[in-house]
Symmetry: C3
Subunit: 109 residues, 3 copies
């Protein structure tokens, strides 16, 4: 058993969960927030047998796509020459980030 902890964009989360469910891959969804952009995103816990990890990776790649976000960087007021001149910055946000963690024991009640 492996636990895949995947952080995906809210826009892709429901499509991904449906695609996993269609192949009877169970998943639990947690609301989360990105540390840098402070925007909402989704953290998924996906417990699968070892031989299913590759398929989970494929489904994540199919369902999640990277996007660009325009953010106006908030710099401390003292450093800002002209508030009007703070140029919006383009920040790429990836489709998904995922950690595959070993599970020593799995039990159901």
């Amino acid at each position: 058993m492996k636990l895949v902890i995947a952080i995906v964009q809210d826009a892709d989360a429901n499509g991904l969960i449906r695609a996993l469910g269609a192949e009877r891959i169970e998943v639990t969804k947690l609301a989360s927030t990105g540390g840098f952009l402070r925007e909402g995103n989704t953290t998924l816990l996906i417990g699968v047998t070892e031989d299913n990890v590759a398929r989970v990776k494929e489904i994540i790649s199919e369902k999640c796509r990277s996007r660009k976000r325009f953010v106006t960087p908030t710099v401390p007021v003292a450093e800002q020459p002209e508030p009007m001149l703070a140029q919006p910055m383009e920040v790429p946000v990836g489709g998904a980030v995922a950690f595959v963690v070993g599970v020593e024991e799995f039990f159901k009640v």
Copy 2:
């Protein structure tokens, strides 16, 4: 140190947390959602010494019980002959699902 990541039904969560606390087993609670039923459930993080994992399993088995949920499956409109005919489906929801994960390092500040 091991980290038990347990997904339990909301109805059992508080009783379980109280039972763990009575044995000084510390726990952190996260609100979560089931991928299939899209209903709220609870994800618990329980960091315990290796010799306490068995006791945590026992307490989870005592405090969490499986239930049946009746859901009317939502099928895409085109496939539904008569909306009235969509039979409610009985879905068993287990008491708990838990992953025991190895902890390489544990620290407190």
Copy 3:
């Protein structure tokens, strides 16, 4: 790659996230609740290379501090001689609790 799962007090969370971001250490934030005090706290997922774990520990120690909370223990009504006599109890709450978990595979989409 290691995954640091840290539980910190809400009061320290934003300062910690900013300090991690300043060193380009990425982090995801989850709202959580303490099992004993039932108060809100913050769970952070911090995926870092192995050689960065020590630096993450240092930043957590710098940014998180322990505090004391005064709580009036709620005992079952029957046992309480005089509601007025329930003395508030001082409970120390640590700055942070963290679990470092091994990552078998890390992928980005």
